[in-house]
Amino acid sequence: MNQTERMTIEGFARARLPALLRFGYALTGNQEAASDLVQEALVRTGARWSWRARREDPEGYTRRVMINTNVSWWRQRRREWPTASPPDRGYDMQYRDYELWRALSSLPARQRAVLVLRYYEDLSEAQAADLLGCSIGTVKSQSAKAIAKLRAILEASALEAK
């Protein structure tokens, strides 16, 4: 990668970093995991930057890498700590919607990604399917399963609190 191309990816990173960090936070619910995810994705995006900048949407590619990397990390964590409780929101988090964030963190990364794309990015089912590389039917079923699981967790949590 020559100097010009490096400057270009850094310029892209600088311009889009806040939005990518917010996307990472929505995917992970964790500030530092989001930072790590963005760094990993931008390094990969930059690997063939000049080609990507010419041929495809670099931001779309970066977001795809973030989703896939998060799924991969989630699987790795699950193997390492099969009985661990769901990841907590970091100590630096606010506690608004705490239960919902906690419930979200218990979802498989793929299901969470579907919810983020549908309810945060406002993507259609077709757009989400395209980004995730799956069928529209899969997006529908994953979304329905995730919502049902969230509801079950939140209802159980509300009962515990009584």
């Binding site: 960090l21 964790n30 930072s35 390094v43 100590y91 919607d97 509300a158």
Partner: protein, 370 residues
Amino acid sequence: MNDIERALRRALRDQPPVHADPRLVKAVLLGIRKRRRAVLAATAGGTATAAGAAVVIILALTGTSGAPGGANPAAAPAGGIPWTNRTAPVYTPPPARSLAAPTAKYAACTASDLTGKAGDVSLGTGRITQYIVLSNTGAHPCTLSGAPSTLVGVRANGRRTTLATGNTAGTQSFGFTGPANLRPGQSAQVAIATTDMCSAASTGGTDDYSTVTVRIGTSGAVNVSLPRARPLNVICGAVGVSAFGVPGTSSDQSSSPLNVLTASAAMPGTVTAGTTARYTVTLHNPTGQAVALSRCPSYMEFMSPLGTMPGSGASRYYLNCQAVSIIPAGGSVTFDMQISVPGTTGDAKYGWALQGTSVQTGGSVTITGP
């Protein structure tokens, strides 16, 4: 859209504003450069490892330099309020009061009743929401119903463009309850949502409006100047305008009387894997009034090796409120703490937070083998 979907949308978009912190942006850019160097070194047969690079990056993010825990005392000071083994549940915010939808109580507000100013900006991935605050500066109560009949954007050069007509944000409530019954001095809001999800925005393109004109029915319009640093950028075209309303009441931690406290932790710089570490947390009350721990607060603590999800495996306990029930004005109370050290050696982060408050502290520590 059902209740869960609405709550989900709100929670995902209601992120802490820390994401726009330039220090974090700088740290991430630095991390990318370091990670890239590590990849290149690994490719070239160097000794850099992904794990090593990750440590460097996370230390950069946390602003820690040198060995983690190096700034901490070698041993935690003793003599605090004894730790108590009383576990606590995960904090559950009190349920928000469910309010019946209001009905219009007064005559309709006219443009001459209202003055406007730019409110907060909410940043969601792909969506940026500019809130406009409209205050009843007239002499009589009035009701603001529906949505702006038109929203006109005015560029710095004075050129005007109609950005939206009526409620173009559909059923998205933006947390507002309407119509807004406004006594003199009271305010309502309207949200203007734009997006930055387009290639033009990705390459830094702008289509900025420095002023918006909110037309109130047929009575006239209210002009609102936006801060020079954050004009309304509609480069991606779509503009969603909400109905008028009053922000809903929230029952989050912001109302906790304990939020005046500050916390600081003293953790040994090195702890042993698989053991229980002892440390202290000092709560300081900088105000001139004593803070009562009358409803005994609980706290959350965690210690997570770098490279794992920070905050995983958190524990929750109550403070020892039998030993101390008040933090005097200008005073401090130190509590002894215990935490299970993970079995993984290496650098780690720890965190401590009073549940349901904004009181929190944390730092870095090195976990060594037994």
